[in-house]
Symmetry: C2
């Protein structure tokens, strides 16, 4: 995306995308969450151009998702480690991974989240910490909060408050894959 108009958008999704929206950022983050920290490792695992990698790495440090840390002084060498903010991004990656495994794994998934204590594959579920109830499109809906400006509120009144879910439910005709 080139224009800055989205910066003005008071939507957390849009704002998040400002920082992790580009492909490589997400893939680099995935590697970092797997423990990769060296420039060369990122490069080899991802097959990314070095110039691009340097740029993305800088952007991620800038955004506070990674931190640069010198691990060697003699010849100054830096590595990139995940920050708390980056670690908090893990659930996004994991749900994305599960979605990808559901729809884009030919046959058996190749990579999967595993519970190291039981050695069982993990089946992710999103719940409300307050009620322990699984998130459900019917029950849990996006709403403007008090802090929202009139523009947002108007939007919700006009379009989605009454139709938080499509009236006739999702169409399955495209689901053969």
């Amino acid at each position: 995306m080139k224009n800055k108009s989205l910066v003005n958008m008071p939507c957390p999704v849009a704002r998040s995308l400002e920082h992790v929206g580009e492909w490589w950022n997400i893939l680099i983050l995935r590697e970092a969450l797997l423990g990769v920290s060296r420039f060369d490792d990122f490069q080899n695992h991802l097959g990314i151009a070095t110039s691009t990698l340097a740029k993305r790495l800088n952007a991620l440090v800038e955004s506070g998702l990674l931190a640069r840390r010198q691990y060697c002084e003699k010849p100054p060498r830096d590595e990139y480690v995940i920050t708390k903010k980056g670690l908090d991004f893990r659930p996004v990656l994991l749900t994305l991974m599960q979605w990808g495994n559901t729809y884009y794994a030919d046959g058996e998934p190749m990579i999967q989240l595993v519970d190291t204590e039981t050695n069982q594959a993990v089946d992710l579920m999103l719940v409300d910490r307050n009620t322990q109830v699984e998130i459900d499109p019917q029950r849990h809906q996006s709403q403007p909060r008090p802090a929202a400006d009139d523009m947002i509120k108007a939007r919700f009144e006009a379009s989605s408050a009454a139709v938080a879910m499509p009236q006739q439910g999702p169409v399955d005709q495209y689901l053969k894959t």
Copy 2:
């Protein structure tokens, strides 16, 4: 991303990005999940160019995340409704939204997921459906499955099996924001 090299990547994240990687796709999906279905509504809410919108909408239909449905015959009119595959993408959007609310809401978040039965803001938590245990980077780790090819397995043995999390934990120095 212009090159097709990622298609070969046997990673569900990379594959997912093939289909939803571009900004607008995610934002359009967000709108669709809020119940928006008309071309004009997408356009007004997002401030996207019509030509771009048409292209993205077609791509999303192509990917099976949205379905085109004729809702009027006299002048043929189409609308775009979310499919099951698209609905399954909602957890990704929600975790992304929560992350954005955590780090990019100046003060109070403007939009939030609400439990319509209790009228309380939802606090998302990712758990393993099998054990009901919250996902934890230490306990729940990505691993190659039997279906994985040697390349993937080699990667895990070499780099991350032993260091699924950075040895010294996340660095917090950049967390002031």
